[in-house]
C-alpha cells in the first residue's frame, strides 16, 4: 500500500507492505537508523519517536497507521548543527553508557518536557517508566532530563557567556 509520512519535516511517500512497522519504515525506507529496535515487545522504549509531537513506541505502530502524520526521530532534533537542549543535557550530564537506549530516552524526555516543562525528579522517573537502560545508567539520564528543564543549574551551554556554537564544536 502507499503511505505518505512527514519525517523530520520531509515528505516521504513509499509503497510498502501493509504489515510494515513504523520502526522498520524509519530504518529501512527512510534510512534513519538512530531509532533502535530493542525488545520489539513495547517494553524497552528504544524505538521511541514522536508521532504528531507525542512519544510512541514505533515497534508497535504500523507505517500505515502513521500515514498522513508527522514523525520526529532523533535525527530531526538538532537544527543547523546546534544540538537540541535535551541532547546537550545528555552530553553535559554524561547521560549514556553503551548508548543503545539513548535515542529512545532522548525522544521520551523531549515529549515529557513538552507536557510538563518543569518536572520534579519523581515525575521524570515515572515519566521514563517506558524506557529501559540495561547499563542501569538511570541516574545521569534523570539528571540530564532535569538539566534540560532548567533544574540542577540548567545547561552549561545555555548560560549567556559560552556560545552554543562553541559548545557544539567541542562536543562533536
Amino acid at each position: 500500500m502507499k503511505v505518505d509520512l512527514t519525517v523530520n519535516g520531509k515528505d516521504i511517500t513509499a509503497d510498502v507492505e501493509d504489515r510494515l512497522l513504523l520502526v522498520h519504515f524509519l530504518r529501512d525506507v527512510a534510512d534513519l537508523t538512530a531509532t533502535n529496535v530493542g525488545c520489539d515487545t513495547t517494553s524497552c522504549g528504544a524505538c521511541t519517536v514522536l508521532l504528531d509531537g507525542e512519544s510512541v513506541k514505533s515497534c508497535t505502530v504500523l507505517a500505515a497507521q502513521a500515514s498522513g502524520h508527522e514523525i520526529t526521530t532523533l535525527e530531526g532534533l538538532a537544527s543547523d548543527g546546534t544540538m537540541h537542549p535535551v541532547q546537550r543535557a545528555f552530553h553535559e550530564q554524561h547521560g549514556l553508557q553503551c548508548g543503545f537506549c539513548t535515542p529512545g530516552m532522548v525522544m521520551a524526555i523531549v515529549s515529557l518536557l513538552q507536557e510538563n516543562p518543569h518536572p520534579t525528579e519523581e515525575q521524570v522517573r515515572t515519566g521514563l517508566e517506558g524506557n529501559l537502560c540495561r547499563c542501569t545508567g538511570y541516574h545521569n539520564i534523570v539528571r540530564a532530563a532535569l538539566a534540560a528543564s532548567g533544574g540542577l543549574g540548567g545547561l552549561k551551554g545555555s548560560s549567556p557567556q559560552p556560545s552554543t556554537a562553541e559548545t557544539v564544536e567541542v562536543s562533536s
Partner: protein
C-alpha cells in the same frame, strides 16, 4: 518480529467501519491504538486477515458531561482520559487509573474502548469501569444498543459484542458514594497487573483474579454490613478463579487480592471528606 500478512483498511467513519466489518466477517479485526492487538499479532497469537483501522475516527474521541454521567468516546486515548479535567473532578478514579496504564508512550496510543473490547482480565480499565457501573454503547449495521458492563465480559478475551459490532461510547455514571482507590501490583512498572483492585464507595472490582474482571461481591456485602476495611478485605478472594502462571501462583494472587483490597478500602475511606 513482524506480523503475518494482512490487508489494511482505514475506516473514514463509524458507519464505514461497520460496513467493512460486515464485508470481511470473522477474518477482520478492528484496530484502535493497537497496543494490545499488534503485540499479539507479532507473536502470531492473533492473525486476522484484515485490519480495519479506526485511528482516523476523531469523532469517537471525546469526554463530555451528560449531567448524571460522563460520556467517553471509545477512541479516547488513555492519555486524554488521564488529563481530562472533567473526569478529574467528577470521576477521579477513572482519570487516576488511566494514568497507571502501561507507560506514557502506551498511553499516547492505547484507547479506553480498545482496552474494554479486548477484554483482557489483566487490563486495568475494564475492572475500573466495572466498579463504576459503566454502560457501553455498541453500534452494529442495524443500529446501536446499550450494554451494562456487568453483562459485557464473557470470558478471556470474549465479550457479548457480535462480529462487526463496534464499541462507540462508554457512559460512566457520576459516583453516588465518594471515596475511591486504585491499587495494582506489578513486577515491572509497565507490566500488566499481577492483581489490581478498584474501589468506588462500596463497590469493589478486581483485576486479573479470573477469566474476566470481577466484582468482589463478598467484600461489598461485608462493607454493606458495616465491616471495617480490613475485615471486609479478608473476603477478597471469595468467588474468584485466579490463574497460576509464570508470574504468580493462584494462592499468591489470592493473598495479594486481600492485601490490595485492604489498602484500597483504607485509602478510599481516607478520601471521604
Amino acid at each position: 518480529m513482524i506480523p503475518s500478512s494482512f490487508s489494511y483498511k482505514r475506516a473514514g467513519s463509524p458507519g464505514e467501519a461497520c460496513d467493512l466489518a460486515a464485508e470481511y466477517g470473522e477474518d477482520a479485526k478492528y484496530l484502535a491504538g493497537g497496543h494490545s492487538l499488534l503485540p499479539l499479532m507479532k507473536l502470531r497469537l492473533a492473525a486476522p486477515e484484515v485490519l480495519i483501522d479506526l485511528g482516523g475516527l476523531r469523532e469517537l474521541s471525546y469526554v463530555t458531561d451528560q449531567g448524571s454521567a460522563v460520556a467517553i468516546g471509545a477512541l479516547t486515548r488513555h492519555h486524554d482520559v488521564e488529563h481530562s479535567e472533567l473526569l478529574a473532578r467528577e470521576i477521579p478514579l477513572l482519570a487516576h487509573a488511566a494514568g497507571q496504564v502501561g507507560d506514557p508512550q502506551i498511553r499516547h496510543r492505547g484507547t479506553i474502548g480498545g482496552s474494554v473490547a479486548h477484554a483482557d482480565p489483566a487490563s486495568d480499565l475494564p475492572a475500573v469501569l466495572l466498579a463504576l457501573d459503566a454502560t457501553l454503547v455498541a453500534r452494529g449495521t442495524d443500529g446501536s444498543r446499550e450494554i451494562g458492563i456487568g453483562e459485557f465480559f464473557q470470558g478471556l478475551f470474549e465479550t457479548v459484542l457480535e462480529p462487526g459490532e463496534l464499541l462507540t461510547e462508554i457512559r460512566v455514571p457520576k459516583p453516588a458514594a465518594a471515596g475511591w482507590s486504585f491499587q495494582k501490583f506489578t513486577q515491572r512498572a509497565i507490566d500488566w497487573a499481577i492483581v489490581g483492585v478498584a474501589v468506588q464507595g462500596g463497590q469493589v472490582a478486581l483485576v486479573n483474579m479470573g477469566g474476566t474482571p470481577l466484582r468482589a461481591t463478598a467484600v461489598e456485602a461485608a462493607l454493606a454490613g458495616g465491616a471495617s476495611p480490613s475485615d471486609a478485605a479478608a473476603h477478597a478472594a471469595e468467588g474468584t478463579s485466579a490463574a497460576s502462571d509464570i508470574r504468580a501462583s493462584r494462592e499468591y494472587r489470592e493473598h495479594l487480592a486481600r492485601v490490595l483490597t485492604s489498602r484500597a478500602l483504607t485509602e478510599a475511606s481516607s478520601r471521604v471528606s
